[in-house]
Structure formats: C-alpha cells, structure tokens
Symmetry: D2
Subunit: 337 residues, 4 copies
C-alpha cells in the first residue's frame, strides 16, 4: 500500500500515523519529494481500512498494491481447489456440465430433463425452486415443493443437485441440496454469505450484475473466512450499455479469475445472453477460454417454460452443445499449460 | 403491449395464442403487413409474463407499451404520497434533511451528532448499525448495540431514526426504528421486500448500483403489493465507467421518478460521490432538481470515522449545507409547478 | 414501426400524420383501445426519422421493429460477404490472422516481425503509422515514414498490409495500403466514413468503445451507402465498470453480428484486454465463438515497444497462439452450421 | 509515480531502469520489502509513457500519482480562465446561456429563434450546420448553407455564434464562427484537436459519450499544447445502462472539472436527456452545481424540427428556463466560495 501525503502535512499527525501503522505490524518507508511525499507500507495490508486512512487530514490519496483478499488468493494457495460432488470434480481438468430448467415446474418435467441431460453427459442437475424475479407479478417458483421435486429427480437419476437460496431463513430446506447457489442479486448479501461460511456445503457464487472481479472474490472471501473453502465462482454476464443480448458475457473474467484465485470458475451462457441460439457459440467460447464448467438451462418444452423459456435449450439442442464442448475441450486454454 | 409475429407463423399456434390472450381479458388487434404481422394488446398487461410470450415459436419480438407496475404508478394515483414521520412530511413541498454518521460508534458520538444536526434543521437522524461492507475484514457495525445507541439518541433529541436492515431475521430489532432503510445491495432482496410489505413501517429504498429506474420502482411495487404503501425512493449514484467520484449521481432520476411514481424521492449526495467536498454542490443540485429531501453523512470527527469518513461532513460543514439548501429550495424545480 | 398515440390525440393532427406516413409509402393500421391507440406502420421504415416523429404533439412513444439498416442487413443479403486480399479470404470458412506491431518503429523491426508472423501463418501484416493516443505527450507514430516502412515490409514478404487512418486528409497516403483501418475513436467520424465509401479499398471498421452493435452496423452502412461494400467489422472490447482488463471483450458480439449482417467479423484480443497473457485464452475463445479472423499485436521486443508493449506478444508467443487457434478452428462455431 | 517491481527482479535490468529514469530528470526512491519492492519517482512525470514501463519484464504494476496533464491543470494555473466572446465572459461569475436550434433549417427559422433567445438573455446563438447522425439516412444538416444562415442571424441580432465542426477540412468555413464546437463523437479526433490548437478561436469541447473526465482534460490539453488556451469544456451526458433518458447527465463532473482545471465548464441539458420536459429541472440542477453556463436547444416549431425535435424547447419554454436559472444562480455553488 502506498500513501500519498498532502503538501505540508502536519508533522505531529504524521508521527501519529506512522506509529499507528507500525502497531499494525507494517513497515513504513518514506520517499520525500519537493512537492510530494509518499509512504510505502510493507507487510500484510489485507485488513487495513483504506477508507479510514483516506479520511485523514494529511492524506491525499492511497493506492493499494496487494490484493485485499487472502483465503481465495492464488499467491498464497497456488494449487487449484477442486470441489468434488457426486462424480464431478469441479476445478480439475474435467469440463463439468450442470444443466436443468430455470424453474422446477412439475415432477414429470424435472425428471424428464434430468434423465436427458444425464444421458448427454451432465454431472449435476440444476433447477430453480425459489426464483428472484424483477416483477412481483411474475412466477416466483414452487419454493419448498420445487426442492422436493428436485430431490425426487436426484433419487431417480443419481444426479447431485444445485439450487438457488434467496434468504438465510431457507437454509434448513437446503440440507439435501448438494451445491447451494447464491444468485447475482445476492452476491453481496453478506449475512447470507457469512451463514454459508459456517456450513460445509459447496457454494456456487454467481457474479453480481455490476460487480467487479475483485468484489466477487471478496464475497467468496466472506464464505471462506467462516471456514467453508468449497466456493465455486460463476461468470454470468455483466450489465453494460449494450442491449442486443440480455447481459454482456465477460469471458476474460475466466483466465483473470483463474489467475487471481485457486477457486473453480464456471460460466453460465444461458442467463448471460438470454437467447437460446447464443448458447452454443458462447459455450464453445467459454470452454476455449478455460472455464471449469458450464451451467446451462435446458427445458423439455421451452415455449411453455414458466420463466426465461426464451433462453432454454431443448434436450436435443443441449445434447449437441454437450457433444461439441467436450470435443473442443482438449484444444482449450488451461491456466496451468 | 405489441407482439411482432414471425413470418409465416403457424395459424393453429396463432389461434391458440389469441385465445389465451383473450382469456387474460386482453383485446387483440392484428395489423398484417407483407413481411410482418403485429398484434396490439389492449387492456391491463401488468401481469403478462413477457419472457413466456417471447419463448413462443411464432413470436419474433415483444414491445411493452404500458409500464409493468401499478401500485406505484402515477398514472393511476396522480396525488403525491406523503410519508409523515415525526415532524417530517416526506413527499410534500418541504425539503427534508436526514443526517447522521455512516456508522454508530458510541453513545457520545451519536448523541452529539444528533443534537448538532437537529440544530441545523435535520428532521431525522440516520446511523448505521448493521453495515454492508465489501470486505469481510472491514468494520461490520455495532449491530444490536448500534440500534440501542440510536434509540438513546432518539430519546435525547426527539429525532426519529432511520437505519439499514441487512436481513429479514433482523426485523424484530427494528421495532422502534422509524424508517427502515433497504440498502443498494439489497434492493432486489425480494424475500426482505415482501416481508417489509407486511409491516406498517415506512421503508427507505435505495437504488441498486446498477438498477434501472424501472427496476427500482418494481422493487417498491414488491413492498406495496404486500399492503405497505409508505415507500420512499432514494437515488444514491450508479456504477459507470467514470472513476473520479465513487459513483455517478444520476440527478435526472429525480424528475423522471417523480413523473413515473407518486412516491417521494430523496438523494444521497454522500455515498454517491464518496468525497466530502462534493456534498455541497451535489446537495444544491439535487434540491434544484426537485428532490423531496437529502440524506447526508455527518460525523463529529470525520478523520476517525470507522467507515467512509472520507465522505462525511463535520457538523459545521453540514450546518452550511443545510442553510444553503433551504435557501435554494424556493427557486428549485417542483414536479407540480 | 409502431407509433403509440397520446390519449385524446387531436384528430386533425392525426389525419395529417396519417397522410404524411402514406406519402412515405407506408401502410397504416390503427388499433384503438380504451386508453391507448397504436398505429402499426407496414413498409420500408429504414429512412423514417424516429426523432422527428417523437417530437409530434400527438405521439407518446415509438417502437422500431425493423432494423434501421439495409445494405449491411443479412435479411436482404443472406450470403456472406467475403473480402479477398492477397491470399486471405476474410469472411469465408478460413480463420484469417492479421499480426504486427502496434506502431511501426523501424525498418528492421517491421520487416523482422513481418517475416516471423508470415512464417506462423499470418496472412496480413498490421502496423500503426498514425497513432491515436489519449495524451498529447505520448508517441504519435512515425506517420508518413511509418507507412513507407510498412510498404517495404510488404515488398519483402509479400504480405498485404493493414494500417489505421486518422483523418480523411491522409487518404492519398493510403493508396498502397491493402486494408484501411478505422479505429474505435473514429467509428463515428462520418465525414471519413463517407469518403471511404467512395474508395474501392476494403475497410476494417473497429467498434467504438461505447458503441452498440447497431451503431457499428450503421457506421458500416455509411461506407456501404457510398458504394464500397468491402467492410470488415472488428470487436475490440467495450468500456464497462470492470477494470481488471483494459476493456471488456464482448464475444457474444461475434454471433450476433454474424446474424445481423453478412459482413466478416474479426476480434482484436490484444487491444481489448491490454494484457499479453490474456491474448491466448481470448484468441481461442474468439475463434470458438465463430470469428472470421483475429488481429493480434506482435513485437520483436515487447519491453521496448514505443506503445502498448504490455499487450504485445513475442514472435514465439504468437507462433504458439497461431498453432493453437488453427487447431481449435475445426471445433468452433460457424454461423452456417 | 510509483513502480511496483516483480519479486526477484533482475538486478541488471533494475539498474538500467534506474539510469533511464534519472535521465528523464526523475529522482528514484526505493522501498524494499520482504515480498515487494516499490520505487517512488519524484519529479515531472507528465510525459512518462506508462504503457512502456508496464511492458518491462521487471515491472509488476505502476500507479500514477500526478495527473498526466499540465496546461489545463489548476494546480499550475490556479486562476480561472475566462473566455470572452461578444458580451459573454465564459468562466467568470456570470451564468452564460447559449441557445438555438439543433439544426439550422432556414433563414426565417434561425433569425426568429436568434431574436427570441436574445430577448430571453442568451449571449450566444448555437445552430448545427454539419450534423453527425448515427444513421446515413437521417438529415445531415445544411452544411455550408447552414453556416451562411447562421452568419446572417448573427448580423441581424449581434449574437456571436457557436457551431460544430466535423472534420478539419471544414476549418476554413469557420472563419467567422465565434466558437467552434467539437462534438462528443470527435472528442478524441486528435488531428482535428491539433489543428484547432493552431487557431486562435475559442473551442467548445464536448465530453465523449464514454470518456472519463481525465480523457476530456487530456483532449483539452491537445488543443492547449498547440498554443490555443481558449478551451471551454462541456458535460453532455454519458452512456450508462440506464435508458429512461437518452444519456446520464453527470453533474458531479462540474465541480470535479472545476477543481481539476481552470477552464470554464458548461452543461448541455438538452442532448444529455433528450427529453424536453427534463430541460428545466436539469438546467436548474446544473446551475446549482456551479456550471459556468448552459447550452440549450430551442426551436420555434419543435414538432417540425428536422432533428432531435423531441428535446427542443419552444422560445416561450426557454424564456421560462432562462428566468429561473438566472434566479437560482445567486444561491448556487461556486468553486471559489
């Protein structure tokens, strides 16, 4: 961390600042110029509150050099974290496909989709029970019943399940869910993240619509600080000025996150684009960019899906996508190659 | 709502669609062109699920004409909603100032700030007890104790209080809080919004960092649909590419929201800019643009604030801001003038 | 195009509007509702000035249904445009690599880079002579001399050359340049685009930093309307709130543009990310997403590059990228498959 | 400027770097830590090419501390620049109104508007002759004839005129134009900026749609470096995700630019919002925020304006805006108060 001091900084205040920094076990190096004096801080600055320092009278600006996270930092944990669920090893060399409908709608629907995506090579079943919807007038999910139907599909197919939690009061209902998903709108729901940090369940953490990669990793850090290190990151598109797809899928996030952290990185080509015919090209591109897996919406009857049918694939389309992403995988980028 | 049909749309599917729309009490008008046929829907389309329609095979695109909200819509409720708390009438011609520290830190701090902002004309005291912080290593607020200290300051000064809730499990602690604030990160925490809709407390709903005005109003609609009509909107800056201030304060949101809804609209010049010396010009500008009030951070010792000190005013600076915004108010824009 | 009329629209003005629309050879269909009347326009609305219509007293809003471009529109020209330059067929099934330094610096540099990228499979040489730089204090390119050095490299290697024009007064200098590049900052320099439309040179049109895909295609339309149909589009990253890479590479632009237009689409993984180690993963991803080619910065001595060295590859690194993108190409998305 | 070195940086390369920096008249201070060594550079780093340094093998990152501009920098020129044209002193305590139609359409139109805006207190007449339009099918302006009509209006009313240049080949036509406007799309047309730097005409430089304030000031620096110090900055809205107004007017840009530079800062409430009924509130807010003037679209017949009629005021509406902004001015923010 580098602190830029104001011209003619009061020397008494400066001494106080230096003592305080030394108490935080930081070494302080001064570089005095004609117009500007800068202080270099050497040591672990993860927990230094940058806003508090910026508020000091004698400080003009502060530049952070060290990343503000530790548990998720690849510098301190060079080996990849691999999250094992069922037959999937998320974070390994394998490309893991997670597939299923946006919303669970009926026993028949979820079991039928589960069987077909399993046959196409998916290792996990996704399905929404609690649905965050922008409008209070839109379908809000089957809730508890949706989770039960998912568990039935799991029983029938053996596929572990992924579903989204919307509030920490729902946590007890997720006991038999294999991976708990935290959606984009909840990426900074810190009370929820802290509670998930106290569980031993893998957490699939989706990037917020306007969250920087650093903020995404800090949200993972909230979970990991509680003791739960099984965090899976997921790029799902960011909000920009462009409106030709629902969001802008940020695929450079994949290699950047793989460098910043040791956590697995998935990509969601369905929600990010919102358009079913973009799912194939974006799935291929995400795989090529080195994603550890894909999470894809599949519905046995897209035109009648109760939510987001527009972005769903039919099982046949998903089978084609699966075949093609597995084929492209050996030619794709890998962080370690 | 206008539905654009694909060329050569299957006539059987088209009949089904038309029947289904008529069942929703909508009238259907067809305009057939050489290349394109469009359907105009007449009636209340608030609850029509646009994503579901878009997923139909025969539909190329859909354009919404009517706004997707009703309770908050000025078209249906032309009179301004005025929220009365203590001596403040938020939404009336009066400019309401809400002031106080980012975080409650001690009894002495909060009471001292409360007294001085009251003397300067603030009608409500704000103070954070539960603090959403990007990093798990940053100060997280005094929590329950913070709320108790706020209540003491309320007792001592008579100022009603505003504080932020972070999770619905905290709701019982807010019994004596006068206005419950929902922060930008929770603007789309729908479980929380629904629960707040069942209370009879005024809710101060801050715009999400990357939320459109339409999404903000739909979040208000979540609360209002539950029966609680006392919702106060607050513009607090949006995330853009520009980094010279913390966020970009979107002041055109003020007259636009006043036109879209009958709800009061506040502006937060402190969090949006993150820079104390911008608070005065942005407070004047927000008032001029027709805001119903301002929510401003004031700390009796900004350099030692445990969070966001950099954007806090001293009581003296706040007194100057208050004096100047009250002076400019009579020359400002008003939706009804 | 759909025109939504205001309630109680004046009938005389309405008749005037209808007559005017019919004079534009448009058919008008009216759908009258209780609260709202909408007019559907059938016919070619490309040239209808939407802003002018919106200004009419009786009009509440207008929704465009037809795309506002014609020459570039795939609907009217379903076959791919293929631009042939030297041995490259840009827009065909082939993946075309264009490589070279950000700035031409010396005869030795440009010839050395040209030879090595040719050996690795590049079909065109790129090199900046006129350099748009944010700061007036940064290196502005060798200008005329730079173009001459490029021509020498072309002579020596047989590689056709691509270079950026910054102003139409420079056009006569580009006589022997094979493809004229229009940079992101000039994407909406309409005087330049019109002039290029009167030449018979292929134009490589880069997307502006904050341009929508529709605006990019409209800029291509400016060139094509002048008679020059050899336009090549290039995605090179857009400006968003994310700062971990220089810009956000928008790869979904590739399949979307391929669907909107019949023009070839390239991707620039160097300028978009600004980080050399992201060039490999983003080149693989762009190829997988169906790009017709890549434009990559290569420098024989990146640390001493006079501009943007940070994003340049060495010839050895480029050779590796080339080998890998050619290997992944057969498994990639193609618009027609 | 602070250079962060990579761990285990090669000592020979380090020595080379240090010598090179000293040759640029910079003093180098080293702070060595266990994991990281940082170099502080003291001296004038305006012209140091940050990209070149970042490309060095031994450099991990660089943080700029000093602003990269000099001529426009308030630190070096604390006194306000005041541009005097006719009776207007732009940059002084006075609020200067510039008004007129988006496009010049006829002699009658421009003279009529000129007279009425003069009567309302405008000190300059604006009018577009060369019009940058997104679509090649939209009205492109009367060009040379438009400039001639503007000059006639100037002759008739005595109002100095402001008009937009689109290409440097048009410069000779602007001999009698009092202020040359550079539009948002040309803010980074560096060949044009350099040429304007060699004239002695005031330049009204509009912020690009996605330009940072620092980039805007660097574009001003291009003009000033050529010797022309009469640059007027103009905030005109930035592109964000929000679509309820055409662009997002960034009013915090006003006090921030006033602090960064000594140049006058105007605001354009017409183009930024694109909606005529937002012009009054945003004009009041811009004035309150300390703008030196406003540039407002006025048309004597908005519904028949050939471009952007939707955002134009009638002369009567402009008279009301003028009256109200002059009334609010004494209560507004001023950088020096």
């Amino acid at each position: 961390m580098v602190i830029i001091l104001k011209e003619n900084a009061d020397s008494h205040q400066l001494e106080n600042l230096i003592s305080w920094l030394r108490e935080q076990n930081l070494k302080v190096h001064m570089s005095e110029g004609v117009k500007q004096t800068i202080m270099g801080l050497i040591g672990d600055t993860t927990a230094v509150d940058i806003d508090m320092l910026k508020a000091l009278d004698i400080v003009e600006d502060i530049k952070r050099i060290q990343e503000p996270f530790k548990n998720a930092n690849r510098k301190f944990h060079p080996l990849d974290t691999v999250v094992n669920v069922g037959e999937a090893f998320i974070g390994s060399d394998e490309l893991v496909l997670i597939a299923g409908p946006c919303s669970v709608e009926s026993r028949e629907q979820i079991c039928s989709v589960a069987k077909s995506v399993k046959a196409s090579g998916a290792k996990l079943l996704r399905g929404g029970a609690f649905k965050p919807r922008t409008s209070p007038y839109a379908f809000q999910g089957l809730r508890e019943n949706g989770l039960e139907l998912l568990l039935e599909a799991k029983k029938e197919t053996g596929l572990p399940i992924v579903s989204e939690i919307m509030d920490l009061s729902q946590l007890r209902l997720f006991e038999n869910v294999d991976i708990i998903q935290v959606g984009a709108r909840n990426m900074q729901n810190y009370e929820l993240l802290k509670e998930l940090g106290r569980t031993n369940k893998p957490v699939l953490l989706k990037r917020g619509l306007s969250s920087t990669l650093s903020e995404l990793v800090l949200s993972a850090e909230y979970i990991m600080t509680g003791g739960n290190e099984q965090v899976i990151l997921c790029e799902r598109g960011i909000r920009t000025f462009e409106t030709s797809a629902r969001n802008t899928l940020d695929l450079s996030a994949v290699p950047i996150l793989r460098g910043m952290t040791h956590l697995p990185v998935l990509v969601d080509p369905s929600h990010s684009t919102g358009i079913s015919k973009l799912v194939l090209p974006m799935s291929l591109a995400a795989t090529a960019a080195g994603a550890n897996g894909l999470i894809i919406e599949v519905h046995n009857d897209p035109p009648h899906a109760l939510c987001d049918g527009q972005q769903s694939l039919t099982p046949e389309m998903f089978d084609d996508v699966a075949r093609r992403v597995f084929a492209i995988k050996p030619f794709s980028y890998s962080f370690h190659s």
